[in-house]
Subunit: 333 residues, 2 copies
DNA sequence: ACTTAGTATGCGAACGTTTGCGGCAACGTT
DNA sequence: AACGTTGCCGCAAACGTTCGCATACTAAGT
């Protein structure tokens, strides 16, 4: 069961491989009659072009590299799904790597992409990445690069993001509008741009309304349920119980839920909660969690569209797309 | 910023490309002294072998193709994560496709894999796939194939599965042990092997204990929250309210939760619930959902291990691995 | 009969790598 | 002195494709 090649077709028709190649790419130099013949036998032999040979010759592939911190995060898996969707529509294949939130691993991933001569790269950087030098390799080699969600500001590249500042500001303002006075923020590391922006949005909203700042910030990669639980726990022990919480993501919010219920407090009567991302889980906790919807699939699609456009038009100037978010109001507020 | 090639090294050292190639692959015919020289200049020039050229020559790649129904499902994204983990340890790259539960799309995906000369394929079939002919193409071409979770029984290939029958039987038996008498099953299409097995496990357990069969089976791809909600809804309207439910997956169970609470019934006092998969969400509903833990990441890892082993040992006989499941008991029972 | 132009095809090199075969020293063996 | 052995290396072909150039043939314009 060998693959038919252009040479097989050529032999069968007693013509040269060059003519077959041209016929298949509909080159005007080839007679229509010959083209038909070639196309017919190509079908008979189940010919399909060898992308490897083609890549070697042209020194370019139709492969898109995707680097994400962790595939199993709902946000990332949705984004990947969107990327795959668009890529396959444009006949690109994707090769996938995860950095596991690890800087060294991310460097290995970028090297792999370069070795494989990817046509372009879509990436969301790891929490432990403070330095974008490894991404500069792409721009040096003129490989188009699109960041999404967690972008790297010291690299000139296209970006698909949300307005974290405004989303946070709006969410907290909503809590203010509901009459909440002691609004806490359970935030992420300020070293990560998106978390820092959400934190600033929170600050802006509480300051503007002359409310106290009440925050628990977590460090690198500590953005899971247990950290939300612990933050709530320490506020309670410090006798600083808030009447509302804006959490940096849904997991942290859900963690807080558990501790709040353990304390016998009511959501939203005693404490209102807002999360971030609109994870699948947000709809099914009781009461359902109000959260900022971050349309992951759209972000992925947009990233892929920008990338493919850049690849095919060979443009250089990077674009930035800001995807609108929406505050989904549910039972927790 | 061009890539250094073997020829560049050869020119710099005034030796032939063949010697460089052999030196880099540590061939005994090359003097140790020369090898050192080659390795040194290779480093200087940032040489890294071109996998495309290598593939063209050898007609094999170190790429693993992965086909899943939908990337954003937690089970699949975890499995992919496991696959990526193992693959990258063995220096394989993965190319990723989703079938979107669509038979035609799945066929396109398999063709893509063949065109790209993948070294092997890991797949979980779509719900609408009744026929495995497109997977036969792999075996015809001696491309190793490993199915996981949703396997295709008419194709001879390795398989990584769980014991759906036993898992279901044990889960339902547990409900029986808790004194439940009217145990319903919210199941999937019997055309899909895994759902059929879970259904049979349920039947075995209720029959063995002379309990009534009470079931709501859904058709193709209808395994989301709303279908659980609807199934519960119709049982209530038919006045057939059960005292326990074994759901084919966690989403369906969660859907049932909502309707049960709407009806003013208590979980687990009035109705006990068991799901399947141990989705992330199962821990955070109230009360937390008892469910069958299906260790997705381990399944993915195992699939990758078997595949790589088959690729490198060039063995032919397919293996089947059964990954043990565990009933995670939580508040819903 | 001559160039001129156009049309359709083939030739051969190239992309970067691997590998069988053969060359050629230098050495030891008879 | 003739031969075999061994160690180290180069030549050249091959993988499948593309493309610049050359070539052959036809048809038309002087």
């Amino acid at each position: 069961m060998k693959h038919a090649t252009i040479v097989d077709i050529a032999k069968k028709l007693s013509i040269s491989p060059s003519t077959v190649s041209r016929a298949l790419s509909d080159h005007p130099d080839v007679r229509e009659e010959t083209k038909d013949l070639v196309r017919k036998t190509a079908k008979e032999l189940f010919y399909s072009p060898n992308p490897i040979a083609r890549s070697l010759k042209s020194n370019r592939t139709s492969t898109i590299g995707v680097i994400v911190p962790e595939i199993e995060h709902y946000f990332f898996s949705c984004a990947i799904s969107g990327i795959e969707e668009v890529a396959s529509n444009f006949n690109y294949t994707i090769i996938l790597c995860q950095s596991n939130e690890n800087y060294e691993r991310e460097i290995e991933n970028t090297n792999l992409m370069i070795r494989h001569r990817v046509a372009g790269v879509i990436a969301s950087i790891s929490l432990t990445t403070k330095n974008g030098d490894h991404f500069q390799e792409f721009t040096k080699r003129r490989i188009p690069l699109v960041f999404f969600d967690r972008v790297c500001d010291d690299v000139v590249a296209s970006k698909v993001v949300i307005d974290d500042f405004k989303s946070a500001f709006d969410a907290v303002s909503y809590l203010v509008g509901k009459g909440r006075k002691r609004i806490a923020h359970f935030g992420g590391s300020k070293e990560v741009a998106i978390y820092s922006q959400r934190w600033k949005g929170y600050l802006e909203a509480v300051n503007k309304n002359s409310l106290p700042v009440l925050e628990k910030l977590m460090t690198d990669g500590e953005l899971y349920e247990e950290h939300g639980y612990n933050s709530m726990d320490s506020l309670i022990k410090e006798n600083q119980t808030p009447d509302a919480i804006f959490a940096v993501n849904d997991s942290v919010a859900i963690g807080a839920y558990v501790r709040i219920k353990e304390a016998g407090l009511k959501i939203p009567d005693d404490i209102a909660l807002i999360g971030f991302s609109n994870d699948k889980i947000a709809r099914f906790v009781q009461p359902a969690l109000t959260t900022v919807d971050q349309p992951a699939m759209e972000i992925g699609k947009k990233a892929a569209e920008i990338l493919i456009d850049t690849i095919e038009k060979r443009t250089i100037e990077p674009k930035t797309a800001v995807i609108p978010t929406q505050l989904i109001i549910r039972g927790s507020t």
